[in-house]
């Protein structure tokens, strides 16, 4: 229904620049996930798009029309706020029905549809409660219900599932996605959940300090992060990063850690990145790294390694743990083709290896 475009959008509080000449395109009908460290300007961007925050510079366009000066209600947007922002004086049902009532839907109709939405979010039994009598997760679901009851041109979700348990989160995520897909509504979605970011999105925008660090398909970003920052930010546990040299199929750090890297060309000075899942461990009495700590995550485990001065992590199948007691020595190697190299000066990705 609507293509959203940020054109050199900028936001200042006083003299502090919070969002800095950001260009983003949110294609019509797509779901774009916005990720980035706490305080990087995600909520601010959404709020500018919603019309709640004045834009200090640049343009925001919906379907080619500049909407900078438009009132929020004229932008045809629905939003789930990070802090829920429920109406404290209205019941759950009235909260959910509010957007319909505001746009002149008949009361009975609005309440009926709100009841359907509440049911679909598992709030069916709570509809006559006031927000203060709800748990955190229930409040968040009310906020979601309020957003999805309408069919706006654009959906804005600011960490909409952060207070839901894993099971409910998957279900609700699915519900949201279905609605968004079915109605073809352009959606912008802020989340801190890596899984959410990876699985839901058509596109992913990684922000850092008010700028776009990288944008693209999530699997692309995961596979080819364009900087050390993106590389460590996307993916959990985070990518291992080491500075050193590559020669003779092995990477060596100044402190002496050694990782086998196959047939990678030699580099004098390079930053090497390897995801924990791609770091394979082979127990060996002459291994250069030592198992420091093992965290069990169900089917897999995170193995923390001391390799000289570097601390590395590797994810291994729980089944392989028997060979990896704490203190065991291991040799390190990188799964073929899973190596990331960055320029030590700019920290940007080096041309493909």
């Amino acid at each position: 229904m609507a293509e959203v475009r940020f054109n050199k959008v900028r936001k200042k509080y006083g003299s502090t620049v919070i969002v800095d000449d950001v260009d983003i395109v949110f294609p019509d009908g797509s779901l774009t996930v916005l990720v980035g460290p706490s305080g990087c300007g995600k909520s601010t961007s959404l709020r500018m798009l919603a019309g709640l925050e004045e834009i200090s510079g640049g343009e925001i366009m919906i379907d080619g029309r500049v909407i900078n000066g438009l009132e929020p209600r004229d932008r045809d947007i629905a939003m789930v706020f990070q802090n829920y922002a429920l109406y404290p004086h209205l019941t759950v049902l009235e909260n959910i029905a509010f957007p319909l009532r505001a746009t002149k839907t008949r009361r009975a109709d609005a309440l009926r549809r709100a009841q359907d939405v509440a049911d679909s979010l598992g709030l069916g039994a709570l509809t006559s409660r006031k927000p203060k009598d709800l748990s955190g997760g229930q409040q968040q679901r009310v906020a979601i219900g309020r957003a999805i009851i309408r069919q706006p041109a654009v959906f804005l979700f600011d960490e909409p599932l952060s207070n839901l348990d894993a099971k409910l989160r998957v279900e609700t995520r699915f519900e949201l996605l279905q609605i968004q897909r079915r109605l073809g509504i352009t959606a912008v979605y802020v989340t801190h959940d890596q899984e959410e970011a990876m699985t839901m999105s058509d596109r992913m925008v990684v922000m850092r300090d008010g700028r776009v660090a990288q944008s693209g398909r999530p699997d692309e970003i995961y596979a080819r992060p364009n900087s050390v920052f993106v590389a460590t930010f996307v993916g959990s546990p985070k990518m291992n990063i080491l500075s050193g040299t590559i020669a003779d199929g092995a990477f060596t750090s100044p402190s002496g850690s050694r990782i086998a890297v196959g047939s990678t060309p030699a580099h004098d000075a390079v930053i090497l990145g390897v995801r924990p899942d791609d770091l394979t461990l082979s127990p060996s009495p002459t291994g250069t790294a030592k198992v420091a700590l093992v965290e069990l995550l169900g089917p897999r485990a995170i193995v923390h390694l001391d390799a000289s001065d570097d601390r590395l992590t590797s994810v291994v199948d729980a089944a392989a743990l028997a060979d990896l007691p704490v203190g065991a020595l291991v040799d390190l190697s990188v799964r073929p083709g899973a190596l990331h190299l960055f320029d030590p000066a700019s920290e940007n990705r080096l041309i493909e290896v």
């Binding site: 000066g69 438009l70 009132e71 004229d74 802090n83």
Partner: protein, 272 residues
Amino acid sequence: MTRRTNLWSVARALLLWVAALTVTLPLLWVALASFKSPAQLNDPGLVLFAPNLDNWARVLEAGVLDAAGRSAMVATITVAISVVAGSMGAYAISAYKTGGSATRFGILAAQVLPPAVLVFPFLTMAYALRLDTTYIPVIFAHLSFVLPVITWFLIGFFDAVPRSLEEQARVDGFSRFAAFRMVVLPQVLPGIGAAAIFGFTLSWNDMFYGLILAPTQETILPVAIAAFNTFRGVELGAMSAAIIIAVVPVVIASFFIQRRLVQGISGGAVKF
């Protein structure tokens, strides 16, 4: 931003102008009157005239300034007591729905009863306790209506403060009272400021209790102002001067109080 917004801001400005004029024009008339001679007073249209200071001299000689000082003292003491006791009471009522209707509304009784009926009991009390040469009876009489008003005034403001703030403070190791004083109270400062201003005006404006309960010879301001309403007519010029004396300092004071309080709190609560 849009045309609708412009329209609204024009309407808003217009409204404020009309309001400001409605407020100021009568006051301007009063201010002009304070510089008019008796003959000039009879001409409502007279704006340009040679100002004369007789009225002001008369007012100063009548001790209006002293009366204003006494009124300010009475009002300040009344308001200070009321703000302390009232904010505590309002909080108890708001947070804990304390006391049922009897307590909550009982304290308003003095607000309903005519002063004409209450003043004689006060007077009896003053004589019995031999306080009739002090301001204590006046202050007490003023407390009888200022305190309930301030208490009620603040209930609505305490209602708006999220309970979680107080809870957080209690978990942080504070007693309920400390939580109230250090966390809840600051959230309602604008309300307290407004309540104090209002309580002050109630005390500042009261003539009846002041007349009968204040020590002889030491009139308070409203009595002094009303004294210009004599059997031989209202001394409009002098009364106008006295009104200006009564209004200007309080307006200035409320200007600073409001500014401080609004700055002090800088916006509402977060995340609840």
